[in-house]
């Protein structure tokens, strides 16, 4: 009884395991949803190349497409050297 009483008063400030579970889950689900699979990324890359190629000549081997994850936001970063502008 006494130990129960002590435990009750001491555990007041300690976070319960279930609230830890809840917080961890909420973060996990947010990150899960930001994940893109390789095929989607590849399709996106091909589409971007198609559009850019209408206006520029680009070096297809040197370009990169990646997702940069920051603390609060994620960014899609596409990097390509321009070889020449297409005159139209």
């Amino acid at each position: 009884m006494l130990s129960k009483l002590i435990k009750m008063f001491t555990s007041q400030n300690k976070e319960s395991s279930k609230s830890q579970a809840k917080k961890r889950l909420q973060f996990a689900l947010i990150y899960d949803k930001l994940e893109i699979n390789d095929n989607t990324l590849k399709d996106l890359q091909n589409d971007i190349i198609q559009v850019i190629s209408r206006y520029f000549e680009i070096d297809r081997d040197a370009l990169s497409l990646e997702i940069q994850r920051g603390e609060e936001t994620s960014a899609l970063v596409f990097n390509t050297p321009i070889l020449q502008i297409k005159r139209r």
């Binding site: 129960k4 009750m8 008063f9 007041q12 319960s16 395991s17 279930k18 609230s19 579970a21 809840k22 961890r24 889950l25 909420q26 996990a28 689900l29 899960d32 949803k33």
Partner: protein, 266 residues
């Protein structure tokens, strides 16, 4: 009028899909519906043994889809509960043997013959899942109050949405005493995380194991709390939409009641 196809699914395995399928199916039949429960977990059949019908299998769902027999030949009639039928999975095929086209065709025929067709989907997000949801009118996602089951449920819920199905959530194996102690996610916590409509709440119950040991329908066990919860879920599915969802509670001792009053327990 055509029957309804209800798919019971989950992200994580072992959370109680088969128990839920057999119990909700049995309860719907006892409420006067003609019900077929179908084991879609090809290669790993279980629904038959949970229902105690494993000795009566002649044909299975693969035979039906591949036109080797009629639905009426594969559907095993439960002798304890009127209007309850089981179509078992095949144990020898692998899970790729069914095509979505074939399942769709059979689903159409089943809807003509039954009020409710309940599909016990395999866990996860592979082919078996696709086949189970292809003709579904409604879906229930099952999870237990633990982090892995909830996370995997989120994935499946997303997939169902992408197929234009709005699922409901059934939280299984709730231990009210541990929820009260802050050791287990409450149903409110789970709903906060998943934001989905609730189908029902089912407490952890010893009767589930003993009933499955003997192949008895859980909903016929009068003292089974889980059985009662499944019966209420079936009643809500069957049109009693205003029947309130019961939150599992535990018997509180005097000490608990006092400490709760003073706000000692979280």
């Amino acid at each position: 009028m055509d029957g309804k196809i209800l798919v019971i699914t989950s992200g994580k395995g072992g959370v109680g899909k088969t128990t839920a399928t057999s119990s909700i199916g049995a309860a719907l039949a006892m409420q006067g519906n003609r019900v077929a429960v179908i084991d879609m977990d090809i290669g790993l059949r279980n629904l038959d043994v949970i229902m105690g019908l494993e000795n009566r299998i002649v044909f299975n769902i693969v035979d039906v889809v591949n036109n080797r027999c009629k639905i009426s030949q594969a559907a095993i009639k439960d002798r304890r509960i009127d209007n309850l039928f089981l179509i078992p999975a095949s144990q020898s095929d692998n899970k790729d043997v069914l095509t979505t086209k074939g399942v769709k065709r059979v689903a159409k025929m089943l809807k003509k013959e039954f009020d409710y067709i309940i599909m016990d989907s395999p866990a996860g997000i592979e082919r078996g899942f696709e086949n189970s949801v292809v003709s579904a009118d409604e879906a229930i996602v099952i999870c237990t109050p633990d982090v892995s089951a909830v996370r995997d449920a989120d994935r499946v819920i997303g997939l169902l949405y992408s197929k234009s199905i709005t699922p409901k959530l059934l939280i299984n194996r709730i231990e009210p005493a541990r929820v009260a102690k802050g050791e287990m996610l409450s149903h409110e916590d789970v709903l906060d995380v998943l934001s989905i409509e609730l189908a029902g709440l089912v407490p952890l119950d010893e009767y589930v194991l003993t009933a499955s040991n003997m192949g008895l329908p859980l909903v016929l066990q009068k003292e089974s709390k889980a059985g009662l919860a499944f019966t209420r879920i079936a009643r809500r599915l069957n049109g009693e939409t205003d029947l309130p969802i019961e939150v599992p509670t535990h018997k509180t001792g005097m000490w608990n009641t006092i400490s709760k009053k003073f706000g000692f327990t979280k």
